[in-house]
Assembly symmetry: C2
Homo-oligomer: 130 residues x 2
């Protein structure tokens, strides 16, 4: 179905190597260091392909542009309301909530995404200084 490409591989590797949650722009700039003439369109095309294939995940945080995550194993995210940063949370998968959601619902539920909101450690610290 899809053919090898150096650009796609670079994008996948880039995402797997990072635990922050880069935007398309950040991915673009990062890859550019090794493949200087890669284009932003290619980055978007591949991010969207990889995310359909389930090799990466797209995060729509509601703050700023979409972000991408190379970790597909189930895990959850924290989003700082103040600075907009996105952090991984170390917590177990909550499979059981799919069952809760499915009760009294006629459709088919095969997954969930949960974002936790609040203040990140850095912003908390700053708040005390002010």
């Amino acid at each position: 179905m899809s053919k090898y490409s150096r650009q796609r591989e670079a994008i996948r590797d880039f995402l797997k190597s990072r635990h922050d949650h880069p935007t398309a722009e950040t991915v673009y700039l990062g890859i550019k260091e090794n493949i200087p003439n890669i284009s932003l369109g290619t980055v978007y095309r591949n991010l969207s392909l990889l995310s359909e294939l389930g090799e990466i995940r797209k995060l729509s945080t509601g703050i700023g542009p979409d972000r991408y995550d190379g970790t597909v194993a189930p895990h959850y995210h924290f989003i700082c309301k103040k600075c907009g940063c996105v952090l991984d949370l170390k917590m177990n998968d909550m499979d059981h909530i799919n069952v809760l959601a499915a009760q009294g619902f006629n459709g088919e539920i095969d997954g969930h995404i949960a974002y936790f909101y609040g203040n990140c450690p850095d912003c908390l610290k700053e708040r005390k200084n002010v």
Copy 2:
């Protein structure tokens, strides 16, 4: 802090009166029937203000534009992967997951948003017909 405006009130009322989850565009077109010369900019400004005030909620589904919800009482949403529709789920609030998330996290967690994904009743039906 903020002054009365007919436009803002209309937007708030419009959202409270509906249980689908309209986009800014839909809100704009809806209000326009009563206030023909309202502008899209005003709609965006007020949606964003109301959502900061906690009077409405913004939903970033990752599929299409942001949507807005006049129901602020805790509840959860289902998003159809196929048609992109957004439905309310009848399920209890899962306060306890904030505690789970806060374990081993240094920041402050004061809320969460969870989206459930799958196929909506209509798309399931359609799939059987094909």
